[in-house]
């Protein structure tokens, strides 16, 4: 890590830690928690999308499996920690199964199968009234008290989310620069060559699918804790698409891109929608503009722009410096 990115990281961490002290207003602190949860979902889908080149339209399925499992187990009388761990385990196991089914087909087939699986989970949540409460949804009894700390109020819940988010981000950062991450990106760019180099492309993709499912499940538990409620709307196709859009908007295959995408989309959804009724149009316009001018997303696009400006300025500086010599 370079010194500059280390400084940037420390500044970001400090700002994130200071968020509740800076904004104070409960609505906005909750919004910050929501952004972190969506950012985690977008980051997990980006492990597949950005590093693996696998477009999944069924990521909200984990909100369903992990979310309902967590609520049902808690309601059934299990401890909060047991319920959360079991829910994540169950949801990750579901990811393992979904992976086997989806990875049978490459490209478009993969997208369609993930979409179908997401819709199946949604359909079950919607129809299985006795279990999920159908359209009415289920209420989670209460937020947990990790280590006896009360996280019911907005700012302590924000810190709880921030810690989970930071841990996940750290793992993903290691993942992206690891040998496995390199193999995954190789399999994205040249699957045939990777096989001929001895890599098991299918297994690489499947493992990534499962890891992405795991982090998606963790985010889903946070989602349930945040809302203390879950209904089929949370696992609709639109939810999956939004998570995917966050990653694409910010820039897939970068670590910061999905976070930036989650910030923008969640803000537009929650803040702009209080002023403008048709906020979807604004979101669509932002998306079109970004994709037209920065086809790889905001973060890589801005980086490129900055580099170009920087080199031009340096160019100019060199030109003026050398002028007297002429």
């Amino acid at each position: 890590m370079t010194r500059r990115s280390l400084i940037a990281l420390i500044v970001c961490a400090a700002v994130l830690a200071a968020v509740p002290a800076i904004i104070r207003h409960e609505f906005y602190i909750n919004l910050a928690s929501q952004i972190l949860i969506y950012a985690l979902l977008a980051l997990s889908v980006n492990m597949m999308l950005g590093y693996g080149g696998m477009v999944s339209l069924g990521h909200a399925a984990y909100l369903g499996v992990a979310g309902y499992a967590c609520i049902l187990l808690t309601v059934a009388g299990y401890g909060q920690l047991t319920a959360a761990l079991a829910a994540v385990a169950l949801s990750t196991a579901a990811a393992a199964l979904f992976g086997v089914l989806s990875l049978r087909a490459p490209g478009l087939g993969f997208i369609m199968i993930t979409l179908a699986l997401g819709q199946i989970v949604w359909g079950i949540a919607y129809r299985a009234n006795d279990l999920t409460g159908g359209d009415n949804g289920l209420t989670h009894p209460a937020r947990p008290m990790p280590f006896g700390i009360d996280i019911r109020d907005a700012s302590s819940f924000y810190y709880f989310t921030l810690i989970v988010f930071a841990v996940a981000l750290f793992f993903m950062w290691r993942f992206a620069r690891s040998p496995f991450g390199a193999s995954l990106m190789g399999a994205r760019d040249q699957p045939r060559r990777m096989r001929m180099l001895g890599h098991n492309v299918w297994l690489i993709r499947w493992i990534t699918f499962v890891i992405a499912g795991f982090w998606g499940s963790v985010a889903s538990i946070l989602y349930v804790y945040y809302n203390v409620f879950l209904s089929p709307h949370a696992l609709s196709l639109q939810q999956s698409a939004e998570i995917l859009l966050m990653a694409i908007l910010g820039g897939a295959s970068t670590l910061t891109g999905p976070i930036v995408g989650a910030v923008i989309i969640t803000l537009v959804k929650n803040v702009v929608s209080t002023y403008v009724e048709r906020w979807n149009i604004l979101l669509g316009a932002i998306f079109v503009v970004v994709i037209m001018f920065m086809p790889y997303g905001l973060v890589p696009g801005c980086r490129q722009l900055w580099q170009r400006l920087h080199s031009r300025r340096r160019h100019k500086a060199v030109a003026t410096a050398s002028e007297p010599a002429q």
């Binding site: 690891s178 040998p179 496995f180 991450g181 060559r193 990777m194 096989r195 001895g198």
Partner: protein
């Protein structure tokens, strides 16, 4: 008697009604340099794809040192000691030459499953990659991105990646294609320097180089082996002339 390095028996593959490989039999002994020639569409690359597992044959067998390969996934065949280069360059264009070779080395290293340690921290991999690049004369280009290198350099990178894996059997698909005369000489020298514990099967159209390189030659035509023998035998055979010169 030692097992052949590569033994192909009654291998057939059809695309629809079109036979691309017809009852091909081939025995390549360890350490041998075998050349496969034939006009365009003779099924040379298809034969390679059948050996590597990119394609599954309709019937027949392919054995690597007596080990049956049919039904074995491509990546496992590589672990058994098979490597190949591609006629159409198949590299990682946005990565450095070094990273390309590192991916080749990772393919045979258990480290490839590690999702935690930093790849850049594994000096031994990078040292081995630098050495492999040095062997093909690209040592000073290691940190350059593939997209910024010349075609000849990419051809050599293909070779470096295959050699880095220390294969037992190396399949070279037109390693000289598209190279200038000077580059051909350079690559030719690289091929000559490959030690004899590597068995080489090569497809090549550049007859001067290819004939000088190989001990035995197989001529394919419409997916069939029509002539096989030593250099002199094949060149003297009227069927070779027929295929290449027309009647």
């Amino acid at each position: 008697m030692t097992a052949p390095a590569l033994e192909i028996a009654s291998l057939s593959k059809r695309f629809g009604g079109l036979p691309a490989t017809k009852d091909v039999a081939l025995r390549v002994m360890p350490g041998e340099r075998r050349l496969i020639i034939g006009p365009n569409g003779a099924g040379k690359t298809t034969l390679f794809n059948l050996v590597t597992g990119d394609l599954e044959p309709d019937e027949g067998s392919v054995r690597l040192f007596g080990h049956e390969l049919i039904g074995v996934p491509t990546q496992q065949r590589v672990h058994l000691g098979l490597a190949r280069t591609y006629q159409i360059l198949t590299l990682f264009p946005r990565e450095t030459l070094m990273h390309n070779v590192v991916l080749a080395l990772l393919g045979l290293d258990r480290l490839r499953w590690n999702p935690w340690s930093a790849l850049a921290g594994h000096r031994e991999l990078y040292d081995a990659a630098r050495e492999a690049l040095g062997r093909v004369g690209l040592g000073d280009r290691a940190d350059r991105v593939v997209a910024e290198t010349s075609y000849g350099e990419r051809r050599r990178l293909e070779l470096a990646m295959a050699l880095a894996q220390k294969p037992k059997v190396l399949l070279l698909d037109e390693p000289l294609a598209g190279l200038s005369q000077a580059e051909r000489q350079a690559v030719r020298g690289l091929l000559d320097a490959i030690p004899r514990d590597v068995t080489i099967v090569m497809i090549e159209h550049d007859m001067d180089t290819a004939l000088a390189f190989a001990e035995r030659i197989t001529v394919l035509h419409y997916g069939e082996v029509i002539v096989e023998g030593t250099r002199a035998e094949v060149v003297a055979d009227p069927r070779t002339r027929e295929v290449y010169l027309g009647d």
